[in-house]
Amino acid sequence: MQTPAIASSAQPRLTRGVRLQTDSKTGNSVLLFPEGVLELNETAQEILNRCDGRTVNEIIQALAEEYDVDPKMLAVDVEETLADLKRRKLIELT
């Protein structure tokens, strides 16, 4: 599967009609959209919780600080996750 490049200055946001909420049965985050439910892994959950107008780069920095890891290591994970969500049309990049 071809992975589109994610610009570090892009601002990811949930696509219109997509809702992020906690699943009361599991305590995990889920994305809800027309006719679908996506159960999120921890990485996706942490990223999406920060998709509030911040750029990709700012999200990576914030996560690196919080988890005390090298931002370069995180960048690959974050970009892959965002690319996957973009491919499913669950986020938009502006």
Binding site: R16, Q21, D23, S24, K25, L32, F33, P34, K89
Partner: protein, 399 residues
């Protein structure tokens, strides 16, 4: 056995509908009186009291539906589809959507669009509606109106534009059959021009009225082959722009559809009179199954304990060739309703499967179609349940 957890509730809030589509999956024979709705908006003309009888065949009331919605959320359900009939025929729809929002459910309105104007659209959006799925019968006005048995197409086009303007996510649903399948390219063009985000091109599945009208609706093999090519090409061309879901015509398949992702695994349906169904077509297709009612039991008990939900759960109920089949947890033996309708026993392997001893029942239908050539018989239009008004008073469309 640990119980699975349901994800989605289909709330069939009424069987009333101003359209008469001959492929409707609603039961053909249904006794269903009008609901006692508690929230008639001011300025709205109340319906005559004679229609507001409440007895066992009455539609669930507003308060009963609100309770069902809360129980669904407690059970772990995350999504609710408001369907019918035409769900807009109930004036309390905004109240039900608000209840769904308060219970943290994602709500989808599955509608013909008849009865939707700017005011109602605003009321639904303000109540928290998340998305709308709008049905179309064709791209062509004359054909669409002929299929619907009423003049509705132009109104639907107007409604689609209003939904766009109200900034609500829009899916389109086209039921595909012999009379419209050759217009698939034009239907996809219509979806593009209406800026839909999602399009279902769903070959008709034969339950309810569609089963009755099967000879008129079943497409030919040539039509099906061509449609599949067109849908596949459109899917690739529109990737990233419109999500296209093509629902296969299963009589032409060799293996059955994984119906419902398994019986009693992810979905439940509550019909207008409160019966809880593992599948929306089960009440008419499987006459020997007794369904519980939300008026007598709570959803949690019905989901976990009822005979109807446990009858075909898991794999233990399966006969051969399913029981020893490596596909048994992939297609779950196919569709119970189809097995009941075509073989007389809901516990049989779906006869669509090439391994089923009853595959001949499907082949006979296809063979009969071949012998008809291009002369399909006329269909019977869907009628409304007895004791119901054909449409609520604000509906302008006429036959």
């Amino acid at each position: 056995m640990t119980n699975p957890r349901p994800y989605a509730l289909l709330a069939e809030i009424t069987y009333r509908c101003p359209l008469h589509c001959p492929y409707c999956s609603n039961p053909i024979a249904v006794a269903c009186a009008d609901a006692v709705e508690s929230a008639v908006p001011s300025g709205d003309t109340a319906e005559p009291n004679a229609l507001r009888t409440a007895h066992t065949t009455a539609e669930l009331s507003t308060d009963e539906w609100k309770r069902v919605i809360r129980e669904a959320a407690d059970l772990g359900i995350l999504q609710i589809g408001f369907s019918g009939g035409e769900p807009l025929a109930r004036r309390d729809l905004p109240d039900l959507i608000r209840a769904a929002r308060e219970a943290n459910l994602y709500s989808n309105l599955i509608t013909s669009g008849i009865g939707l104007d700017d005011d109602r659209l605003c009321a639904l959006r303000d109540a928290g509606l998340d998305s709308i799925q709008l049905s179309f019968q064709s791209d062509n006005t004359n054909l669409a109106d002929e299929i619907a048995g009423t003049r509705a197409h132009q109104h639907k086009l107007d409604v689609a534009a209003k939904i766009r303007a109200a900034n609500i996510p829009l899916s389109l649903n086209f039921v595909i059959h012999r009379r419209n399948i050759d217009r698939l390219p034009q239907m996809i063009e219509l979806a593009e021009s209406l800026h839909a985000e999602r399009v279902e091109l769903a070959n008709v599945q034969f339950y309810g009225w569609a089963f009755l009208n099967r000879a008129a609706l079943l497409p030919t093999r040539e039509q099906v082959v061509r449609a599949r090519e067109i849908a596949t090409a459109a899917k690739a061309r529109l990737a990233g722009k419109i999500d296209i879901f093509y629902v296969l015509p299963d009589y032409y398949e060799n293996r059955p559809k994984p119906c419902l992702s398994g019986w009693g695994q992810r979905y439940l349906t509550v019909n207008p009179i409160g019966e809880v169904l593992p599948c929306p077509t089960a009440s008419s297709a499987i006459p020997d199954l007794r369904f519980e009612n939300v008026r007598a039991r709570d959803l949690d008990w019905i989901w976990r304990e009822s005979e109807s939900f446990n009858r075909f759960r898991g794999t233990e109920w399966m006969p051969e060739p399913c029981q020893s089949c490596p596909q048994r947890e992939i297609d779950f033996g196919g569709c119970r309703c189809q097995a009941a309708l075509l073989t007389g026993n809901a516990a049989n392997t779906d006869p669509v499967c090439e391994l089923s001893p009853n595959r001949a029942s499907v082949d006979a239908v296809l063979h009969e179609l071949d012998s008809l050539g291009y002369h399909a018989p006329a269909w019977t239009y869907r009628t409304n349940p007895k004791g119901s008004p054909v449409a609520s008073p604000h509906v302008a469309a006429s036959r």
